[in-house]
């Protein structure tokens, strides 16, 4: 009795990753639920891209700490995805017959949900991952996929050759057909890196997923197994070149950089872009308040904040309080953080609900700063309290609360 309207293409969003390189930031939440850019979560980008591209049916595959992500997505209303036909569905692992099976790899996760996909009889399936910041029109990619009569189209981006070894790279002919694929090669033959965005003909993909599942040696991963298998079998794989801003925010460094990119008018990541809005669940807070003695420089501030101190080149999420004479510079302050009077935060990411008490310092270096010097990012975990006048050295990742102390004289 499950009726559903046929859809030309549906999206499957792989949101199961723990994102362990983000350390304390993903201790209690899945990586796609990590806050980004003042009011977003990372998953807002692929979700909004789908909606803006006219894709209204999205399966989100989760298995790691999904509560926050599930609550965040809810019924999908913020993305206009609360639909009777389609919309957004959370797809956790489940028990079938006698035993349950966790998702073994990206490909296995899709296979285990083939019943979900089949409900919509799609011609094409768009496979996305939940850990990149970018704005992309998947509809144009689908047009390309149809034009080239491809079995699988992989979105690629040009990267510097020296970084290509971190990606799956593709060699293509003049028609953009892929003739060679290397997964994280030591010696890359191309600098066209896979963005982890695939369009497959569903019928074709299904065959390869079943084949892959029968291979006990497979890691059940798209990049490592399914794509190479398809290429070896002579299927038509094409590379679709994307030219816009794209960033993997899988490390502390890259997460910090991508946030700072928002403040840089020269970086092509424009969020204030009405025809291609990035939707997010709203904090529901009143507008923020800027106090009598606040000083603001090149920063972004969200709803519900109370700013009494100085903010320079920083991203301030909703409901943050920054006390009198506090200084926040080159930092990312996640929702609901409280920064006490006179505290100093530099080059840091402060996790949700953290409390930095008065006079504490985070990420400061006492030596005079050389211009252009590389500064390590300091991270304070979610719900952590840094006691009054305590001092967290640059580059630390703080997982436990620390008491206050008398300052060194």
């Amino acid at each position: 009795m499950i009726y559903a309207k046929k859809k030309e293409m549906i999206a499957m969003l792989l949101a199961g990753g723990q994102g362990s390189r983000l350390g304390v930031l993903t201790k209690d939440v899945a990586k796609p639920a990590v806050p980004f850019g003042g009011k977003y979560r990372i998953i807002d980008f692929p979700l909004s891209n789908c909606v803006n591209s006219g894709i209204d049916t999205i399966g989100v595959l989760t298995q790691y700490q999904p509560l926050e992500l599930n609550t965040y997505i809810g019924n999908g209303q913020p993305w206009d995805l609360d639909r009777i036909n389609g919309g957004v569905s959370i797809l956790p692992p489940y028990v079938k017959g006698k035993a349950g099976e966790w998702y073994k790899g990206t490909a296995n996760a899709i296979l285990q949900n083939s019943n979900f996909i089949e409900m919509y009889h799609p011609d094409y399936v768009l496979v996305l991952s939940g850990d990149h910041v970018y704005k992309m029109n998947y509809e144009l990619m689908l047009d390309f996929h149809k034009e080239t009569n491809a079995d699988c189209t992989i979105a690629v981006i040009q990267v510097p050759f020296e970084e290509a070894n971190r990606f799956g790279v593709m060699s293509t002919d003049q028609n953009r057909q892929v003739y060679e694929f290397q997964e994280k090669p030591e010696d890359p033959k191309s600098n066209l890196a896979s963005m982890g965005v695939y369009i497959f003909n569903w019928e074709k993909l299904k065959d390869y997923l079943i084949e892959d599942d029968n291979d006990p040696n497979s890691e059940n991963d798209f990049g490592k197994n399914v794509i190479p298998n398809m290429l070896n079998a002579g299927e038509r794989l094409f590379a679709y070149t994307y030219g816009g801003y794209w960033k993997d925010v899988g490390t502390i460094e890259s997460l910090w950089e991508a946030n700072m990119d928002i403040l840089d008018p020269n970086v092509p990541l424009k969020l204030n872009d009405p025809p291609w809005k990035i939707y997010a669940r709203n904090a529901g807070q009143p507008p923020h308040y800027i106090g009598e003695h606040a000083e603001l420089k090149n920063c972004s501030i969200s709803e519900g904040c109370m700013i009494y101190g100085k903010v320079d080149h920083s991203i301030i999420f909703p409901s943050v309080t920054i006390g009198n004479n506090a200084i926040v510079s080159n930092s990312i302050i996640m929702p609901n953080v409280s920064i006490g009077e006179g505290a100093v935060i530099e080059y840091a990411i402060i996790g949700e609900n953290a409390i930095i008490e008065q006079g504490a310092t985070v990420g400061c270096i006492n030596t005079a700063k050389l211009s252009g010097e590389h500064r390590e990012i300091t991270v304070i975990g979610q719900d952590i309290r840094i006691g009054a006048k305590n001092s967290i050295p640059a580059g630390e990742m703080v997982e436990f609360s620390l008491p206050g102390k008398e300052p060194l004289r």
């Binding site: 939707y279 507008p287 800027i290 090149n298 972004s300 709803e303």
Partner: protein, 388 residues
């Protein structure tokens, strides 16, 4: 909750000039990103009342645009939910379909009101921002076996924020309202009389009505039918005052903060009061829901100076602002100075502008080098979509 909320979206009369020309009072922007009705709707929802009807009269387009299907207030319900009652909806709308009084408005919409499953009705205007727990109010009404419960306030710290047609209630020791005192149009505005007698900022030690009533739906139906039959169309005079002797009308004292808005000066005052942390905390004690616009966070460019101001999402500040309330998407270019002003959505201030005590409606553009200055009680008001 066994209650239907009824909101009158328009003021019987207001003095808001240009501000209510393009819109009904309910959709007047206030406090940065809100509209007047947000506070009332949130009050209902926060009190677990999910069955709400808004009575409109005319000029309600922006209101419908704002509330939409009621989703943002969790009022897109299968049972109950939000209904906007508009003129001419019903085949039995009399005359030209337009009502001139609350009694008529209730009468013309009684069919729709009766369709609700709720047993009680809580009626409110939307010229006042307040924070009542309606669940407690209903318990009071039921415990007191009241026919009508009228909400009043006793301790008015700031008479300028009290609606000028608010009635005075004579509440006896057992809490019953024994008499209602009204000032007809000819006698002038009562609150103003008080102000002139007692000084503008003297507290008034009287029980003043806040325009909020609880009544059993079936009783409302028969009172309204009766009033209509005899052509008695004034709710205060012809129902409250006339029946105070025969009905058990109980007074419920509201002791928390409120702001009534019915003139340009009270509008200005209410906005600027929100800059006070204590008042803001009282007004936003519970969540206030509003329409989500998916704007980006506010951007502050190096060189900006911002002091004691409320700023909404989507703003971009390059100039100087002080003691201001900014709605979403306001742009202030560099070298401009804006003080003591309320600026509504998507208004743009170009370079080298100087504003003081100004209310700028939506979509206004103030061109380079303009200078406008009003006074706290007589702010300059610039109409929607004007280019100055």
């Amino acid at each position: 909750m066994n209650v239907l909320g009824i909101i009158f979206s328009y003021a019987e009369r207001d003095n808001l000039r240009e501000l209510t020309k393009p819109r009904t009072l309910a959709s007047l922007p206030i406090g940065g990103k809100y509209r007047m009705i947000d506070f009332i709707l949130s009050n209902f929802v926060n009190s677990n009342i999910f069955d709400v009807s808004i009575i409109t009269k005319n000029n309600y387009h922006s209101l419908i645009d704002h509330v939409g299907s009621g989703k943002e207030w969790d009022l897109t319900r299968k049972i109950g939910g939000l209904r906007v009652l508009t003129p001419f909806a019903s085949p039995d709308a009399k005359g030209n379909g337009i009502y001139n009084s609350r009694v008529e408005a209730l009468s013309y919409n009684m069919n729709s009101i009766k369709r609700s499953r709720a047993e009680y009705v809580i009626m409110t205007n939307c010229s006042t921002i307040y924070n009542i727990d309606f669940e407690e109010l209903l318990r009071f009404h039921v415990d007191r076996r009241a026919d009508i419960t009228a909400v009043y306030t006793n301790n008015i710290q700031d008479p300028s924020l009290l609606a000028y047609d608010a009635p005075f209630y004579h509440v006896n020791d057992s809490g019953r309202i024994e008499d209602v005192r009204l000032f007809s149009e000819e006698n002038g505005r009562r609150i103003d009389d008080y102000r002139s007698a007692n000084g503008e900022n003297e507290p008034i030690n009287k029980s003043c009505g806040l325009g909020v009533f609880v009544i059993r739906k079936s009783l409302l139906d028969s009172l309204i039918a009766d009033a209509m039959a005899y052509g008695r169309l004034d709710f205060y005079r012809d129902i409250l005052q006339r029946l105070a002797g025969s009905l058990n009308i109980q007074g419920y004292e509201y002791q928390k903060y409120f702001m009534g808005i019915d003139s340009i000066s009270s509008y200005m005052r209410a906005n600027l009061k929100l800059l006070d942390v204590e008042i803001r905390n009282k007004v936003f004690e519970n969540v206030v829901y509003t329409k989500v616009k998916d704007s980006v966070p506010a951007e502050y460019v190096s060189g900006c100076v911002v002091k004691n101001s409320i700023i909404s999402d989507g703003c971009r500040i390059e100039g100087t602002i002080e003691n201001c309330v900014l709605s979403r998407g306001v742009k202030i270019a560099k070298d401009s100075i804006v003080r003591n002003s309320v600026i509504m959505q998507n208004t743009t201030i170009m370079e080298n502008v100087n504003l003081n005590y100004v209310i700028l409606d939506k979509d206004v553009i103030v061109r380079e080098n303009r200078k406008l200055s009003g006074h706290e009680t007589f702010p300059v008001v610039i109409e929607k979509a004007t280019i100055v």
